[in-house]
């Protein structure tokens, strides 16, 4: 926007500069013409000055010659001299006439020339005056003497006055010529400077225009190349591009998508709607999504099935953006279409793999369940028969034989415990989890009561928070508390009194967090990773009996309930088990 305005401004400036330079050049031509004329006039003036000076000199010379003739005439009385006097006088007057012609009307020196003429005429008249023969020598002498003593005034205007006037005329002419020369020089300097300036300006303007033209061309080339590049990219992209009008008709479509569809551009653009190329299901989905697109301006990763010209299907994933006009009306949609064949296949494979995996897990669970179930019968039978033997023969057995029986019964009980644990663990995966709200408080109270009766009179100080109501399954929650509380009671065996706390709070995310805290044997955090593994134990059987399945079961349950369990502890300083459950209830 700003760039376009700057370009417009630059264009206007270049146009103005060019026009200005043109005016300057025309003006300069006119000035040169005028300058030439002035120069001619000046030359004429100089010539006239020279001629005028020659004429004035001629007038002077003629007068001198006439005077000389008069003097000689007066001295000699030779009348033939009168003729040369007359000639010289006429020549002086002719030169004056010529001078007047030369100077023309209105010349400033004209008045002086006229005064000069009258002086010359006056003098000529004096020179022409007749000379009486008798008096010739005397007169000549006396006149020469008078001229010598009283100057020219006595015998009319003297030659000196004529010379001075002529000089004045000449000075006038020279001054006029100098003035003309000066103004001519000024004009020359001015016009030269102006011309240079105009040339420079013209050069600058034309250079700028040339540069601008070159830049314009470069930009136009770049734009053309970019347009070509975009066109190639648009058409050769590995995904489909198309733009649809408000009614869903194709406005544009790239070669890739056309190739997929098997149509020509003429068959599609302006003729077909995108929905014409979709399966009925996809068409319906596209229609509802189109409304959303117009409102939201954006639709991402919509799964659609295209129908090719040959009727085959092509699964694609389409994303689109909406374009609006200045008034905010929906004008067109621009879509990117990606071939989703591979993705769909991968998704389908993943789904199948998941199903297979789920099946395998179920099979494994069923296997574990069945194996445990079937293992239990012989173990119990062994225990039962050992019990019967003790009933029948206990009285006749010696101490060692009784110990053997004890060992059999202890082993079968331990095996039963392991199998029960495994069954409970396997059962977690087999149980459908209920969603009804469960009050955890009463369940915990039951479990604590059972644990206390099993603890056989130990002193345990309990600190139990009110527990919330959460969605889930009462049997599973009972199992969780049985394990956590049972562990707390078991591992605080060395404390008197022992302290066990159950805390509950709702987190800022709305989850329920329950912590079971004891001050018992604790564990080393370095082995915390083993806590929740099946058959993993952190204490020896000698110190604390156990199967190593309880916490694994708790974690499975909590995970199945959508929650999480963490443990913290240190040897000899107790343990904290924190379970986080999704909220839902209050």
């Amino acid at each position: 926007m700003a760039a376009r305005r700057a370009r417009r401004l630059a264009g206007r400036l270049a146009w103005l500069g060019g026009a200005f330079a043109l005016i300057l050049i025309v003006g300069l031509g006119a000035a040169a013409w005028k300058s030439a004329r002035t120069l001619l006039a000046e030359v004429r003036l100089v010539e006239r000055g020279h001629e005028a000076r020659a004429l004035l000199g001629g007038v002077d010379t003629s007068l001198l010659a006439a005077e000389s003739a008069r003097r000689t005439l007066m001295l000699t009385g030779n009348e033939s001299l009168r003729k040369s006097l007359e000639e010289e006088a006429a020549a002086a007057l002719a030169r004056l006439t010529r001078l007047e012609e030369l100077l023309g009307e209105g010349e400033p020196s004209r008045a002086e020339v006229e005064r000069l003429e009258s002086l010359v005429r006056e003098r000529i008249d004096l020179l022409k005056a007749p000379v009486p023969d008798a008096e010739r020598v005397d007169t000549a002498r006396s006149e020469i003497a008078r001229q010598a003593s009283a100057g020219q005034a006595l015998s009319g205007p003297s030659r000196l006055a004529v010379r001075e006037t002529a000089d004045a005329v000449e000075r006038r002419i020279v001054a006029a010529r100098h003035e003309a020369e000066r103004s001519g020089r000024r004009f020359l300097i001015l016009s030269g400077a102006t011309g240079s300036l105009a040339l420079l300006l013209l050069l600058a303007v034309s250079s700028a225009a040339l540069l601008r033209a070159a830049r314009e061309k470069a930009r136009a080339d770049a734009e053309r190349r970019q347009a070509e590049e975009l066109s190639v990219l648009y058409h050769q992209a590995p995904c489909g591009y198309h733009s649809l009008g408000p009614d869903g008709t194709f406005l544009r479509i790239n070669d890739t998508e056309l190739g997929w569809l098997g149509y020509s551009r003429e068959e599609v653009v302006g003729r077909l709607r995108f929905s014409d190329l979709l399966t009925p299901d996809s068409s319906e989905r596209f229609r509802t999504t189109s409304l959303r697109l117009q409102l939201d301006g954006l639709v991402r990763e919509l799964d659609l099935d295209l129908v090719r010209q040959d009727g085959s299907r092509l699964p694609v994933m389409a994303s689109a953006v909406a374009e609006y006009d200045a008034a905010g009306r929906f004008v067109e949609s621009r879509s990117t279409v990606v071939d989703a064949t591979e993705r769909r296949r991968a998704e389908e494979e993943l789904k199948q793999a998941n199903r297979r995996l789920e099946g395998t897990v179920k099979e494994l669970e069923a296997f574990a369940y069945t194996v445990s179930h079937d293992l239990r019968a012989p173990v119990r039978q062994a225990g039962a028969f050992a019990g019967l033997l003790r009933d029948r023969a206990g009285a006749v057995l010696d101490a060692q034989e009784l110990h053997f029986l004890d060992a059999i019964e202890l082993s079968t009980r331990k095996m039963e415990g392991l199998i029960e644990g495994l069954l409970a663990f396997a059962r977690v995966g087999r149980t459908e989890i209920g969603k009804e709200p469960i009050a955890l408080g009463p369940i915990l109270a039951d479990v604590v009561a059972e644990a206390m009766s099993a603890a056989g009179g130990r002193r345990i100080e309990w600190a139990i928070d009110p527990l919330p109501v959460v969605p889930g399954d009462p049997v599973l929650y009972r199992s969780v508390f049985q394990n956590l509380v049972g562990n707390a009671v078991k591992f605080t065996r060395g404390r008197d009194p022992a302290h066990i706390a159950v805390q509950a709070r709702r987190t800022s995310e709305g989850e329920v967090e329950i912590r079971v805290i004891d001050d018992g044997a604790g564990f080393d955090m370095a082995h915390a990773g083993k806590l929740f593994g099946v058959f993993q134990r952190l204490h020896s059987e000698k110190d604390f009996e156990g199967t190593g399945i309880g916490l694994a079961t708790v974690r499975r349950i909590v995970t199945r309930l959508g929650g999480n369990i963490e443990a913290e502890g240190s040897p000899g300083r107790g343990a904290v088990f924190t379970i986080t459950l999704p909220g839902g209830g209050t």
């Binding site: 179930h373 239990r376 019968a377 039962a384 019967l388 059962r427 149980t431």
Partner: protein, 150 residues
């Protein structure tokens, strides 16, 4: 057979069967015990079919039914018995190896009268039968007969 209605023990495992019979004998019962090894035999006995077509025994006073058996399991037997007008009133005690079991819930749904956890010991068995309300009838009748003998 002493003419008393028998106790039908449906149990595939010999040792479990022995333990159950020991428990029963410890309870001092006079009723004869008929043992079958799977669900099919159980139904044959009840309906006097197959190898039981010639035996003239009366309906059992109680069925001790193991849930897990080959060929036809206890739940299917339970379903058949409860659907049969001639057999539906016979009390059934389910023998199971687990305290908490989905089989147990389904057994209740199918109309079982009591549960006994295997291996059966005498005390547990007596409690179950007492809860069932048929045990004293058994014992009483057995006691009458044994009392009338000498």
């Amino acid at each position: 057979l002493n003419g008393l209605p028998p106790i039908l023990l449906a149990e595939d495992d010999d040792l479990d069967a022995e333990l159950t019979q020991l428990a029963l004998s410890g309870a001092n019962l006079e009723n004869p015990i008929v043992r079958v090894r799977d669900g099919v035999e159980t139904l044959e006995f009840l309906r006097r079919e197959g190898r039981f077509s010639e035996t003239g025994t009366s309906s059992p006073v109680v069925i001790l039914l193991d849930i897990k058996m080959p060929r036809m399991d206890g739940l299917d037997v339970l379903r058949e018995v409860r659907a049969d007008p001639a057999l539906r009133r016979i009390p059934i005690v389910a023998l199971t190896s687990s305290q908490v079991d989905s089989d147990r819930l389904r057994s209740w749904d199918l109309g079982v009268n009591a549960f006994v956890i295997k291996p059966v010991d005498r005390k547990q068995f007596q409690e179950a039968i007492r809860a069932l309300g048929v045990f004293w009838a058994l014992v009483n009748r057995g006691a009458e007969i044994s009392a009338g003998k000498p």
